[in-house]
Symmetry: C2
Subunit: 426 residues, 2 copies
């Protein structure tokens, strides 16, 4: 039971992590499932939109000249020669003095150069009269007016919005080329833990980290594999890390597998420190690389990071508050980057005024949970109240908190009344 | 082909809509699927957390008195009598002069009142010596310290965060009591439309609204039923509205159905105006109630709303920009409210300075798409550029835009250089 001999700074830990991060490969996904995901390549239209000249009003397609001088006192009769509906065009040519009843979106018939709105016409039965003029090209949407073939509509890296999906559909795409979702395996250890759905009893507690980390990773775009709680012994942890899997013979798969089903990233929770029952760091050091272990921050100082083959491995403290903080700083950052998203927090920042001081020793970064007065939600100047928490283990502080304030390692804290940045939990 | 005889104001339309809105019933959902959803009832703990006194450090459980006066020059020997691990307590009583090796989270043995941190001990083999004192209750987390039985942890109406799921799991819950997700049926009409995945050809265009509206409704928490494109004829539209379904005999279901599988809300796209092929308003008026038809706004003025039995029905213009705007104003609001969420836009508002004027006639509300200079993302003062769009039909304007500015109906617009609020598309 020794303490950490040396702690990495958060900045050192992030530098190591960022050097490992790459964007995953791409896959084709049906448009119906593409909203909220990340484009792997730009979307370039191979068609003009609209693909034909069309009416932008309900009215009458005419030769504009025919209506010259029309007013309510100079009604100009027009002969209705047919209808143009969307998908059902008028197929003959419109001459001067003729009109084709046309609906919004319908193709403009040949010969016609404008659309006289319904309100500019006095219609009685089969005869109509223009009661105001229309100028050429009026109320007509031209081929390629929205965009032409070759236009880049969406850039690679974009998180797709619902309307992007609509545009992609409109140019004839069935699928989107997207960055693959990171596969995350959760290895939740602790002999004292009971699975979700069990009532805590005696000296056993019910797992908070598994469901919390699963929800966090899914929020950040991951596909989560959480096979269940793992016993605190080296064999069980190694098996959960998949160390034995990598030595098994190649599967005799007949069908081509575009991408292995094994995880891109493993999150271990519990046993991450230097105590006698903290197996995970030792196992990672032995079978892979333990690049970072012990970080100058609070909570989460007993956090480790490393690699196991091509996989990133995060060793998170079992304490749920520490696990959340270590996820926010490290594991979540990696998941977002692998999936092509911004590495930065998916939290909105607001500014506010601290009601009480937050102290933190020089040399350590602090992640202080705070409550924010509702009026701050959209602007500056709200009240930011640090939560009094006895220790890192106070799980409810993360649900009572609206967000957190960071005290950088070279700062002794923030004075009462100072203006601070708050990251609001999403 | 008559215009609307009178248009409702947006405010009138919203007043009618808000009067129809109620929150849907509740259902029990496994915690694993509860993140991002809305709590239907408060979560009250029926246990104390922690459920027992426990160590908050790795170290030695002792009687604090035993260590009085200990310094590196006054080493006080302690006899190690056992171990306490999480889930594996030390079961005897600790006496003065004794120490139990204890891990973070392990139950504090009876007799002990404090935990001497590993760093305060000089240990060599089986004998240890305290090299600093510890005071009573130090490094101990007490039963109920986080929260006690009866504490309300989460209020009804809360959108569940990942850490909330962790807290709910930790008190032994297997499921969450959530507001049901609204069921939305999409009825996308238009004889000119081809389904997603088809290349536009001749005078046919590929549907943008179906996939866009599906993604919007899912973003707002709905379960979407989009059976496919519907022909522009009264029979097909009526069938898609489910009018005939309501006259069918009751199903002879043996198993109790907690909630009907039929939609809570129907969105019709296309044929919403007053043209000869605009069947939906007439059909809704005949078979249900067409409460609002024609709204003083741009785009989306040919929008209708009403009810069909207990279902809300939204008639959206077929034009994708109008459909998006009408969704933002009306259908999305209803979906969010039915699902227990805030009715307000799920968009973030920022302020910025308009680069060019936006004009709008008095009496009409305008929804103007804008681009925002990236520097505005987190604060005020960025540049807001109105997009030049020829008409409502310019679909790409919704993907080029970062968001929109509203010009209220009693305003003639915003001058260049004025400070405006921008709603950023999510």
């Amino acid at each position: 039971m020794q303490g950490f001999t040396r702690r990495h700074t958060v900045q050192e830990a992030l530098s190591w992590l960022d050097a490992q991060l790459r964007t995953l490969d791409a896959e084709d996904v049906p448009l119906r499932d593409a909203a909220g995901r990340v484009l792997a390549s730009a979307v370039v239209s191979d068609i003009d939109v609209p693909g034909f000249d069309r009416s932008t009003m309900d009215g009458y397609a005419v030769v504009a000249d025919s209506t010259e001088g029309a007013t309510p006192y100079n009604r100009i009769p027009l002969k209705v020669v047919g209808d143009a509906m969307p998908g059902s065009p008028f197929t003959r040519t419109v001459a001067r003095g003729e009109a084709v009843r046309i609906m919004t979106g319908a193709p403009l018939p040949s010969g016609a150069d404008s659309v006289l709105p319904a309100e500019s016409v006095d219609s009685a039965g089969e005869t109509i009269a223009a009661i105001s003029e229309v100028s050429p090209q009026k109320n007509v949407g031209h081929r390629g007016e929205d965009f032409v073939r070759g236009t880049t509509l969406l850039e690679a890296g974009r998180v797709l919005r619902p309307q992007d999906i609509g545009v992609m559909s409109s140019i004839g795409l069935a699928t989107a080329r997207l960055v693959c979702r990171p596969r995350v395996r959760l290895v939740i250890t602790g002999n004292e833990l009971l699975p979700t759905g069990s009532k805590p009893r005696d000296y056993q507690i019910t797992d908070a980290n598994g469901p919390m980390l699963a929800a966090l990773a899914e929020r950040d775009g991951a596909i989560v594999d959480f096979p269940g709680l793992v016993q605190d012994n080296p064999e069980a942890i190694l098996a959960a890390l998949g160390v034995f899997e990598t030595q098994s013979p190649e599967p005799k798969a007949q069908s081509p597998e575009p991408r292995a089903q094994s995880p891109d990233l493993i999150i271990v929770s519990g046993g991450s420190s230097v105590g006698i029952e903290d197996h995970a760091p030792m196992l990672l050091a032995k079978h892979g690389e333990l690049a970072v272990h012990g970080i100058a921050m609070r909570p989460s100082s007993p956090t480790g990071m490393g690699t196991l083959g091509s996989r990133l491995v995060f060793l998170l403290p079992g304490n749920p508050v520490s696990a959340l903080c270590a996820y926010d700083f490290f594991a979540g950052r990696a998941i977002r980057a692998l999936g092509g998203r911004s590495k930065e927090w998916p939290y909105r920042a607001v500014r506010g005024t601290l009601t009480r001081k937050i102290s933190s020793p020089i040399g350590r970064l602090d992640y202080a949970r705070v409550k924010v007065a509702p009026s701050t939600a959209l602007g500056a100047g709200g009240r930011v109240e640090p939560l009094s928490v006895a220790g890192a283990s106070v799980l409810s502080s993360t649900t009572r908190a609206d967000g957190f304030v960071i005290v950088e390692q070279d700062s002794e804290g923030h004075a009462a009344g100072s203006d601070v940045e708050v990251w609001l939990y999403a």
